[in-house]
């Protein structure tokens, strides 16, 4: 005991509830070197032993918030009790309750009125129930839902509070009573039933229908405990046993803990494998299915439980393989599919039965758990082999060591839909494969298609469901009731067994690319080591090669054990046909592709050839996980192509493409409810996105359209008529309804084929046409799709009107604004707006006008107009106070400080706070400094701001491409909104320039993303690779820039410093004339 240390401050549950992030705390921050000794024979030995298990090395990255330690020691105290009735259902079955102590605190859950939290406790002892405990070390995990249930307390180390004053009296009784409550001591004939034996398993809480006599009352709620009892005569009497040696535990009994006793489940789970004596039970007949019935012991108000702390026996193993058993303890190394799939020790896969085992709070990556009663089986899938621990209604999962490296709780969605029901109906091996398949399809297609199309809904199958049904056929198992499963102790044999060769992996394409690279590297490695001969490689067909040229390898799908599932698109960059999913893409060659073939939807390709083509070269192995492992697929590892010279593509015959959905069709509500459509002729869609992913992203899309003077009327689906004459006659009433004059003027029969939908209709004039259908007037409209993100375009609006369009725009100018949005109180410019200047007035250029025209405001400035062109080489000018003019180019950018600016209203803008340039005019180098508009011009910010970020900052599909729907300007503004200010420093030696020498940082101490880093490099590189400009400068005192902590390399310290006053473009003709005059 830490008697000499000052008592740490008390901490209450109410204090815990104020914590909003995962937190760890302890009563002492000094780790005691020797565990406190105490009576080891006593069930109430205090303090509890420190847990022997050491924390596993956190070699995995969980990506969640880690637990934050409290900086000072605290002593958390409270009452441990059974879960309260108000706890969430899943907590009632698994957790204890920990509440602030109150004078009336007792084991009864009803008394827990004070602040309480769910509680998991290591080294649990039933004697602690209803008593105040001191928690010496703990983790607290707040609820992920704000204003909802309180979080979970994980008790790592504890002791009873009352032992501070007095040591416990050693207990020598054979049985220790579990203090649920204290039953009457009077014998009651109706409750003489008892059970003495080993708890084998415990069911989940279930509801059981009552017999007909009790019709009208509610179903009973409780759980079953399977107890391996002794059947001797002494045990049949309702007297507590005194020893275990004279008993044989061979008879199976089921005890149904019902109503209030259903709250005892967390204790019964802890008692699995332990010897118990349950008294005060009633005997009842329980029907199991239609045929069987069991005599079951049912708890009553007088039921009491005692357990035998000294018993060291173990449960006998069941000899039948189809029955569950065993105990596996391991470290959780991965949790996937909303907690249904748990990886243990990087080796075994635990598949949690969704119906019966809610994942406990403490099931997190890094925790050590113990799994009891499962079926271990080896699954031989086509591409890999795994060890599966299949859980069932008898499985218990307990936590032996809490994880402090991961704080993510895995919550299941309650709303399953057809797919969830289908998954539940599958046998364990098929269910595991199905969860893997769902994970693959989600990764691959939820960005390209809607969730509903891929995963389905409550009443409609999605693509993954339909695909799985094709593979699994009718392998679904009939569902039994929980009671039947539990009592029969038969979870069914795994009929699929090893017949899993048909279950192939629908590989994500990033993993496929990586697999291709691995195959190539292995092949090159063998080749280099001489273990593989030309044309005789294992499983390869080789087209032959020479050491100086490239080689190609064709691998048959039969040797690969995975299928290709993806969409087919034409690459906007290369023009090649590609097999695409959200993780990546791969070129596809279809030699017999029919012309004009629609390729909408998702295709499965089972039979194909994978081609690897590249130069013969030695390539080093790089150490990464197997891209086909289940972990790699579940984890969605961000693979990037590393071997740039390796060309990977697949060769497929057209007949091998199997369309698996979704079908392209007009939604049914349009088919059947809508009969009349306006016709629009789209003339322009913007912004133009060439990126596939961009097309599926949210964001505004604009379309300019002309309303045609016709409407299209449909008569139904698939009702094709043999000829147009018959069509018109049979639908004359329809046409007539729209007006006799229209029917006369125009009724053109038409049919529309759209994917699987065929519609028939007629074109009807809307009356705006003249005789013979000539169009009198066209109405242009601008359509906006997916409104809501419009604000992002307003960056350009200002930039456009203030900067890009300063030539001519001003008072007195006549301009036409094209492609603007019509708002209630005016016009709103968009990124696609352009301004046509019809006439301009030279009278009043605005004073704040900055750039563009060399004839504009600055030449009216007397001081600047007196500046004479000169060279950096002419040292004499640098001492003059008058302005100087240079014709120069940016050699490199030394420093760039970008700020978020709010000068222009509600939309934040970009401001160049300072930029340092090395300028080159052909005579010498000079160091020029500028800010604001001058710096923007030298950086050419306006030129590049409107460029499409997806094209210019091109990233691989696996990257964070969500930022790429904007232009460079938008990305820049978004970055500054996040970081407020960023600084780029050039560590290279001028005038040479390399992006590798750029060091970008944020003042907000946030790490710049790689995309942001690339964006800044792009801006600097653009500035360094542009043409000449004219600059007006004045001499600069180097001390003026000291405030920016700019450390200049030695060559620059020796250079002259200039402050750039103005920047304007070069007029070559005028410059040439001036120079000619001088010469």
């Amino acid at each position: 005991m830490e008697a000499t240390a000052p008592a740490p401050p008390r901490f209450t549950v109410a204090d815990l509830l104020r914590l909003r992030r995962p937190t760890t705390g302890a009563s002492s921050l000094i780790c005691p070197s020797v565990p406190t000794s105490s009576s080891s024979s006593s069930s109430t030995s205090r303090p509890r032993k420190r847990h022997k298990l050491s924390a596993p090395a956190p070699t995995w990255s969980t990506g969640t918030v880690p637990f934050a330690p409290l900086s000072h020691p605290v002593l958390l105290s409270g009452t441990l009790s059974l879960p309260s009735a108000s706890s969430p259902a899943s907590c009632r079955s698994n957790c204890f309750s920990f509440s602030d102590p109150s004078p009336t605190a007792a084991a009864s859950p009803a008394s827990a009125a004070a602040a309480s939290v769910c509680c998991w406790i290591l080294d649990f002892d039933p004697a602690a129930l209803g008593r105040e405990i001191l928690v010496l070390a703990w983790n607290y995990l707040p609820s992920v839902r704000l204003h909802a249930a309180p979080g979970v307390l994980e008790v790592v180390r504890w002791r009873l509070a009352e032992e501070e004053e007095q040591a416990p009296a050693p207990k020598c009784n054979f049985l220790a009573t579990v203090p649920f409550h204290f039953p009457d001591q009077e014998p009651d004939l109706a409750t003489r039933g008892c059970a003495f034996g080993l708890v084998r398993s415990v069911s989940v809480v279930l509801s059981m229908p009552l017999a007909k006599a009790d019709a009208g009352s509610r179903d009973s709620v409780g759980f079953l405990a399977e107890i391996l009892c002794c059947g001797c005569r002494r045990c049949c009497r309702a007297t507590p046993p005194e020893d275990a040696q004279s008993h044989k535990f061979e008879t199976m009994k089921f005890v149904y803990f019902v109503d209030a006793a259903s709250m005892w489940r967390p204790v019964l789970v802890w008692l699995v494998g332990r010897l118990v004596y349950v008294s005060g039970l009633k005997k009842k007949m329980v029907s199991v299915g239609d045929k069987a019935s069991h005599t079951t012991l049912v708890s009553s108000a007088k039921t009491a439980i005692a357990w035998c702390p000294s018993y060291r026996g173990s449960l006998p193993l069941d000899s039948f393989p189809e029955k569950c058993g065993g105990d596996y303890a391991g470290v959780i190394t991965g949790i996937y599919s909303q907690g249904l799939v748990v990886e243990l020790d990087n080796t075994a896969w635990l598949l949690i039965d969704d119906q019966q085992l809610p994942p406990p709070h403490s099931l997190r990556v890094g925790a050590i758990v113990s799994v009891k009663n499962f079926r271990a089986t080896c699954l031989n899938f086509a591409w890999t082999r795994i060890v599966l621990l299949a859980t069932c209604c008898k499985t218990c999962i307990t936590v032996n060591y809490f994880s402090s490296v991961d704080s993510k709780s895995h919550l299941k969605t309650e709303n399953k839909g057809l797919l969830g029901t289908f998954v539940d109906s599958l046998e364990m091996p098929a269910r595991f494969w199905m969860l893997l398949l769902i994970s693959c399809f989600k990764q691959k297609f939820t960005k390209l298609f809607s969730d509903k199309e891929i995963l389905g809904s409550q009443n409609k199958q999605g693509v993954v469901h339909a695909y799985a049904t094709k593979i699994l056929l009718s392998k679904c198992q009939p569902q039994e009731s929980l009671i039947m499963k539990f009592c029969r102790h038969n979870c069914g044999s795994l009929s699929l067994g090893s017949k899993l060769e048909g279950f192939k992996l629908a590989i994500p394409f990033s993993n496929l690319v990586f697999k291709g690279e691995s195959l190539w590297i292995s092949s090159m490695f063998k080749l280099w080591n001489g273990s593989e001969e030309v044309g005789k490689s294992q499983g390869f067909l080789c087209d032959g090669f020479s050491y100086t040229s490239s080689t190609k390898r064709l691998i048959s799908s039969e040797d690969l054990d995975f299928v290709l599932v993806g969409s087919i698109k034409t690459s906007p960059l290369s023009g090649r046909l590609q097999l695409v999913d959200s993780t990546g893409c791969i070129d596809i060659f279809i030699p017999d592709l029919p012309p004009n073939q629609s390729l909408y939807g998702i295709y499965e390709i089972v039979d194909y050839k994978l081609a690897l083509e590249g130069p013969v070269a030695y390539v080093d192995h790089y150490d990464v996980a197997d891209p086909l492992s289940c972990k790699a697929v579940f984890q969605k590892l961000p693979y990037k192509k590393r071997l740039q010279h390796l060309n990977i593509y697949v060769i497929v015959q057209w007949r091998e493409l199997i369309h698996i959905g979704p079908s392209l069709s007009i939604p049914s509500y349009i088919n059947y409810r809508t009969r009349l459509f306006h016709l629009l002729k789209l003339s322009h869609i913007f912004p133009v996105n060439s990126n596939i992913q961009c097309q599926s992203m949210s964001g505004s899309l604009y379309a300019e359209a002309v309303i045609l003077p016709y409407v299209l009327k449909f008569i139904g689906q698939g009702e094709f008529l043999e000829d147009a004459e018959g069509f018109i006659m049979s639908h004359s009433t329809l046409v007539g309804n729209s007006g006799a004059s229209m029917a006369k003027s125009c009724n053109i029969p038409c049919s529309l084929s759209f994917g699987s939908t065929n519609l028939c209709g007629t074109l009807v004039s809307t009356g705006s046409s003249g005789s013979e259908g000539t169009v009198l007037k066209e109405t242009r409209i601008l359509l906006e799709f997916k409104a809501g993100s419009f604000m992002k375009y307003q960056v350009y609006i200002r930039g456009y009107s203030n900067k890009h369009s300063t030539v001519g725009i001003g008072p007195g100018a006549t301009v036409t604004f094209h492609r603007v949005r019509l708002k209630q109180h005016g016009l709103l410019l968009t990124s696609e707006t352009y301004i046509e200047v019809s006439s301009i007035s030279h009278a009043n250029f605005p004073e704040q006008s900055v750039i563009s025209s060399p004839k504009s405001n600055w030449l009216k400035d007397d001081s600047l107009s007196t500046a004479s062109p000169c060279l950096f080489f002419h040292q004499k000018y640098f001492t003059d106070s008058r302005p100087m003019q240079f014709h120069c180019r940016v050699a490199t950018v030394l420093v760039l400080v970008l700020n978020k600016s709010t000068n222009h209203g509600e939309t934040p803008n970009v401001r160049v706070q300072l930029a340092g340039f090395i300028l080159d005019d052909g005579s010498s180098l000079c160091c020029g400094w500028a800010d604001d508009a001058r710096a923007e011009l030298l950086l050419r910010l306006q030129e590049i701001a409107h460029l499409d970020a997806s094209v210019n900052l091109k990233l691989s599909k696996g990257g964070n491409s969500t930022n790429l729907q904007y232009t460079i300007g938008c990305c820049l503004e978004k970055m500054l909104k996040k970081h407020t200010s960023v600084t780029v420093k050039n560590c290279g030696i001028p005038p040479d320039f390399s992006c590798r020498d750029l060091d970008a940082s944020s003042v907000s101490d946030k790490v710049l993303s790689r995309l942001e880093d690339k964006l800044l490099k792009f801006i600097v590189l653009s500035a360094c690779w542009k043409g000449s400009l004219n600059v007006f400068t004045s001499a600069l005192d180097p001390d003026d820039i000291n405030g920016f902590n700019v450390e200049l390399p030695v060559p620059i310290q020796n250079m002259r410093m200039l402050w750039i006053e103005e920047v304007f473009p070069v007029d070559p003709l005028e410059e040439a004339r001036r120079l000619c005059d001088i010469l």
Partner: protein, 164 residues
């Protein structure tokens, strides 16, 4: 101030570039009127273009001569060898590729780069190219070459004047 001409992109005509005195050092140095020059800027019309996987080779003609130029397109290999995976986040290669697309036969081009030799002949290792849309740029460049030569490049070096 020392006049460090080798750090500057000297504005030069093809004939003058091709007649620079080469010093057989490693890396080779080039002399113009006793001054070391290492970088050059030329303006001329593209008269040939040869695009390969790793580089674009082209020739510009400014009326006084033809200068072979090479624009490297393989920066990603350099980056890949220094820090794994960084090439994807370095825009240099993409921008060099974009630049290479602007080099078309018949366009007026401003070229900046280092002076190098290949197979004994002088060429430019291109740093950047700018397409000049105003044909007067070529005239301006000629005049600048003359002006700079007169004022900056060709006066006798201080050492030849006896030093100061």
């Amino acid at each position: 101030m020392d006049h460090l001409l080798h750090l500057v992109h000297v504005k030069i005509l093809a004939a003058d570039l091709l007649s620079l005195t080469r010093q057989h050092t490693s890396p080779p140095a080039f002399l113009r009127c006793g001054r070391t020059v290492a970088r050059a800027e030329l303006v001329g019309i593209v008269v040939s273009r040869d695009l390969r996987e790793k580089f674009l080779s082209f020739v510009i003609d400014d009326g006084t001569g033809c200068v072979p130029c090479i624009l490297w397109l393989n920066h990603q290999y350099l980056n890949a060898s220094t820090s794994s995976g960084s090439s994807e986040f370095d825009p240099t290669t993409e921008m060099a590729l974009k630049m290479s697309e602007e080099v078309r036969v018949g366009t007026l081009l401003r070229v900046r780069g280092k002076i190098a030799t290949y197979s004994g002949a002088i060429q430019i290792t291109v740093r950047d190219v700018v397409v000049e849309k105003d044909l007067n740029s070529e005239v301006l460049h000629w005049l600048q070459c003359v002006s700079l030569a007169k004022e900056c490049y060709d006066p006798p070096p201080p050492s030849a004047q006896g030093g100061t």
